[in-house]
Symmetry: C2
């Protein structure tokens, strides 16, 4: 089901949007509006965006996305569960089509005002599939639990998501010399705060086991910037560069050839 209008009047867009996006039957519908609009947002912050051509998507779950011609992220938006209403407004002589969205917690509202609409379309999307993803942090933790040797020979993992006062330790275990080991895993390049986190876990563990001679802390990440290594060393912590391979050899070359 696809319906659309080219260069509609504000009143026509308004009628169109109401027809396809209101009521229970519109549950699977998505509205796409392309035209010259300005955006006003007030809520956790406040923002203004002047007149310009944008693509706006409204989903029946209440999501509203305003996209400029550049950028991977929407310039303005409302999350799901937002109330959306369509209306026309009289703005000094000319008529405007307005997408008004509002939610209570936190109180936030957004106005998208169109002075011209190039195209509006409504689409019924049939889709029951969910994304299946590999390579999340939990997958890396899985991988290490299944084969602790990738971190260190003789390592034995005893706990996962072990709770401490300062937060949850990703992996907890003992090395070949029975010394406790705390492992913090990052799927992307670690920041100094990851070092602080690990240090806090180690200190917390030492505090709770006053008798323990030593606790090791290992930061495990796909890359390890020099500054991070310095911070780790200063804090008597260790690191392992560990990258899970989801794609084998870098096929950049062969792929690039496809772009000729």
């Amino acid at each position: 089901m696809t319906h659309m209008l080219l260069s509609p009047t504000p009143a026509e867009v308004n009628e169109f949007a109401d027809a396809y996006m209101r009521g229970m039957r519109s549950k699977d519908n998505v509205l796409v509006v392309v035209g010259c609009c300005c955006v006003e947002y007030v809520g956790r912050a406040r923002s203004m965006l002047g007149w310009g051509g944008r693509v706006v998507i409204v989903k029946s779950d209440g999501s509203v996305l305003v996209h400029q011609k550049v950028g991977g992220a929407p310039v303005n938006w409302q999350p799901p569960d937002t109330l959306v209403r369509y209306r026309t407004e009289a703005g000094n002589g000319i008529s405007l089509f307005v997408i008004y969205s509002y939610r209570l917690k936190p109180p936030e509202k957004m106005y998208v005002r169109f002075k011209t609409v190039d195209m509006v379309s409504a689409h019924r999307l049939r889709d029951d599939r969910t994304l299946r993803i590999m390579g999340a942090e939990s997958d890396i933790v899985d991988r290490i639990m299944g084969d602790p040797g990738v971190i260190e020979e003789g390592l034995r993992i005893t706990d996962r998501e072990k709770q401490t006062r300062s937060g949850a330790i990703d992996l907890f275990g003992v090395d070949r010399d029975h010394i406790p080991v705390i492992i913090e895993i990052k799927r992307s390049q670690p920041t100094p705060s990851a070092v602080l986190q690990l240090k806090a876990y180690v200190l917390d563990h030492q505090h709770r086991h006053t008798g323990a001679v030593r606790v090791r802390g290992i930061l495990c990440a796909p890359s390890m910037p020099v500054m991070i290594r310095t911070l780790l060393t200063e804090n008597k912590l260790e690191w392992r560069v560990f990258k899970c391979e989801f794609e084998q050899v870098d096929d950049a070359q062969s792929t690039l050839e496809e772009f000729t």
Copy 2:
């Protein structure tokens, strides 16, 4: 400029996409494709998404966004500066329209394969406006610098973004008793890592000024969960609940009435 096709064949979409999205003249153009597709992504992670109706946006800066009928975030995407190519593929008997995108750093590729296209449209977006936003963390810092009394009577701010070994202190000053004060500001609910950050700043400052009798650390955020208060207290740190007001009175009531 808006061009579109309803229920085009894969070959027609391919030709359409190439016509409007290739070359320098397409700099301001955006492509919208609505249809039944599946998505394959390989890069920092790997993902698969089965067949279903989606809205796909391709921008001329290389951004690609795949949106399902629900959710505020794209289910799959490529950021700006991605290379995008269009092609047709023969998949067991039927022909497919494929949006293929690729980038080098990090190496990531995504295939969006359409088995049917309900609508494809191309739009020239004229837009030179940028978002003007109020209420960012820097605005809150501005506010406190302009009137330190909102944090504490007699407080005097001396430094902003003061660099330390562990990172940059948002605000640095002295209280009415000339005791140094380190202030960490969060615009949203703070996490334990904010406490660790603040503690690191305080320790670093004490380390550099071995003679200093005392340094105060204050975490300043719009809300302060119990666990955070506990952590702060344990670490001899303080907190202020401080919320900047960008919208005056909560006009939820009057606004809700508009929804009747």
